[in-house]
């Protein structure tokens, strides 16, 4: 960040910090056993099993301080100025990529993570972190429509349902997410472009499409589309898969579908940020989370898709056959991860501001 500025401002501090980092790299892993029995975790809320943390403490004697963030950018802002002391963070794919570029993540020691062997092979070599050197997939999911079956005719399996609505009864009965890359990405997909387009023309077309769709949209929901759906405020909402899966369990009139043109598929990852005070405990924790029994409990609680093949094999059909957890393979093949677009982020930002101001 402003690193140039910081180096300039507090050169001494910078030198001290880099010396510290260098020293850390020379400490053999065995020395970590001398770490105090403490672990500072920074995770999304309701993103862990109910007994996971107490069990971890019981098994290892390591006390867990569990703090929460609401989105990737909040977490990034907090660590951008220097790690305040977290050992574990859970960034999404594109954020892993950016944090790697900025050298904010520790290298993982795979010998300390035997449970990696449970991972589905499809997750072993992601584009954002080849060879999983700095991150380990935790949960994944898609973005799609949550909808009320009794109110929506047929299956709303295309972006056209929300971007070019033909059904007057759904006017002002639909919500989009308040997330620029997700919404503009959906429009880009519908237009046949990539979600990670760098072209100003393509992004401009997507912007105009969303603006023209606004007349039928009730609101850009702050990740609470599932609440709007349940309370009957909307009949169709754009949301993340697990959020809809959670409410589908209580209301059989709800369903989830990923638009056939393709959508976003994302992976949240367990990472150790640079400057973590307890990297040894962090490895123990990451390994613990991928223990088959432990992982099953988490998946059963939060209902996102697991990358842990051994755990998935032992889960019930309620979970493995659930369309809101695992999207069909053919649709999935058309889905994309949101990638970092570098300086072109400005194009998305301006398009999104135009959408909201229009």
């Amino acid at each position: 960040m402003s690193d140039n500025f910081f180096k300039f401002m507090t050169r001494r501090r910078f030198l001290g910090a880099s010396a510290g980092v260098a020293a850390l790299q020379f400490i053999p892993y065995e020395a970590w056993s001398a770490e105090e029995k403490q672990l500072n975790v920074y995770n999304w809320d309701t993103y862990i099993g109910e007994t996971t943390l107490p069990n971890f403490t019981k098994q290892t004697g390591i006390k867990v301080q569990y703090d929460l963030f609401g989105d990737n950018e909040e977490m990034f802002a907090k660590l951008k100025a220097g790690n305040p002391g977290y050992d574990i963070i859970v960034p999404t794919d594109y954020m892993v990529e950016d944090m790697l570029t900025l050298d904010m993540l520790e290298t993982l020691d795979h010998s300390k993570l035997p449970n990696m062997s449970h991972l589905d092979k499809a997750f072993l070599n992601p584009a954002y972190d080849p060879g999983l050197k700095h991150s380990l997939p935790y949960m994944w999911g898609t973005m799609g429509y949550g909808y009320r079956k009794s109110k929506v005719k047929g299956t709303p399996d295309s972006w056209s349902h929300i971007l070019e609505n033909k059904d007057p009864s759904l006017s002002k009965r639909m919500s989009l997410l308040s997330d620029q890359r997700a919404v503009l990405g959906g429009a880009l997909k519908y237009l046949g472009y990539s979600m990670n387009s760098h072209s100003a023309t393509e992004i401009g077309k997507a912007r105009d499409l969303v603006i023209s769709a606004k007349k039928d949209i009730l609101t850009f929901a702050e990740d609470n589309g599932q609440d709007l759906l349940v309370s009957g405020e909307v009949d169709l909402c754009l949301e993340w898969s697990g959020d809809i899966a959670a409410v589908m369990a209580d209301d059989s009139d709800l369903n989830y579908v990923v638009p056939k043109e393709g959508s976003n598929v994302w992976v949240d990852n367990l990472c150790i940020p640079k400057g973590a005070p307890h990297p040894g405990n962090a490895h123990t924790f990451i390994n613990f989370l991928h223990d088959v029994e432990v992982h099953m409990e988490i998946a059963n609680t939060i209902y996102f898709a697991t990358p842990n093949a051994s755990a998935k094999a032992k889960m019930s059909a309620d979970y493995t056959e659930n369309p809101a957890v695992f999207a069909p393979a053919d649709v999935l093949s058309r889905c994309e991860a949101i990638l970092s677009v570098g300086d072109d982020a400005r194009l998305y930002d301006e398009a999104w501001t135009a959408v909201q101001a229009a």
Binding site: Q65, L68, E74, G85, N224
Partner: protein, 280 residues
């Protein structure tokens, strides 16, 4: 004792006859107040009522239950975040009321060079968008190598509440009749005695209003707190923010109801004690 009892009676009778300024006793004023209180409390009453609703969602009434209270009671993260919030709000209210009151008095009382510029500076924390201040504090604390904790939250809260207190104090002081102070000096009182026995009693309602404002701002602040919070220093608004992000359940309602009842009880207790002390 008897005389004291009679005095307010007499005043009341007198008031009923001639004093048209008892606005609060008038029907139309009471109606207006009623409408205002309805506006203020309608959402709160709904919130409290639905904390007893036997449904995961806050929509239709499904029956009475206490289970969300039990759930909130067993939620340890909620407890610690509540204690954190109270600690931060109490300390920052005390410090900022003290500093803000002095600042307000100084601005009211003294003429000094570059005063308009100074005033602008002192009021900046009110004008700055919260999120900008949050980022500024975060970057600053990391620059000076100060670990984020409850301390950094408190320090920031004090900084942004001082001007609010000063504003209220200043509004209270403008129009203060300085001749009271002069009389006090003439009668041989020292500066300190004059301040304590003449100025301060006049000032007190302003101090109370300022302190209430500071407490309200601090206990409810999310944005600045988020950026200045370190490991384990999750406050209630941060906790609630993340709970609400997932879903609005009656557990949140139950926790807020407990908070309302708790603050109400504590404040009534404090007020009764104060009233008793005043009687003596």
């Amino acid at each position: 004792m008897k005389a004291m009892k009679d005095a307010p009676l007499k005043k009341k009778r007198y008031g009923k006859l001639v004093n048209p300024l008892d606005y609060t006793r008038k029907g139309w004023m009471q109606t207006l107040l009623g409408i205002n209180f309805f506006f203020l409390y309608f959402p709160i009453v709904a919130l409290v009522a639905f904390s007893f609703n036997d449904s995961k969602r806050n929509i239709v009434w499904k029956g009475f239950t206490f289970k969300y209270y039990i759930k909130a009671y067993n939620n340890e993260a909620l407890h610690s975040s509540f204690m954190n919030s109270i600690t931060v709000a109490s300390i920052s209210t005390v410090v900022s009321t003290l500093l803000g009151t002095m600042l307000g008095l100084a601005l009211y009382r003294y003429r000094f060079p570059f005063k308009p510029a100074y005033e602008g500076f002192a009021h900046l924390p009110i004008m700055i968008p919260e999120i900008c201040m949050g980022i500024a504090m975060l970057v600053f604390f990391s620059l000076i190598n100060m670990p984020l904790s409850l301390f950094t939250i408190t320090v920031s809260h004090i900084a942004f509440t001082i001007p609010f207190v000063a504003v209220v104090i200043r509004a209270r002081m403008s129009g203060f009749d300085t001749s009271y102070e002069e009389v006090s000096y003439d009668l041989g009182a020292s500066q300190w005695q004059t301040f304590w026995n003449v100025t301060f009693p006049y000032l007190r309602p302003g101090v109370v209003a300022g302190a209430l404002l500071a407490f309200t701002l601090s206990i409810d602040d999310f944005v600045i707190t988020f950026f200045t919070a370190g490991i384990g220093s999750t406050t209630l608004p941060i906790k609630i923010y993340s709970m609400l992000r997932f879903s609005v359940t009656p557990e949140v309602n139950a926790a807020s109801t407990v908070l309302i009842v708790l603050t109400l009880t504590l404040t009534i207790l404090a007020m009764t004690i104060q009233a008793r002390a005043n009687k003596r």
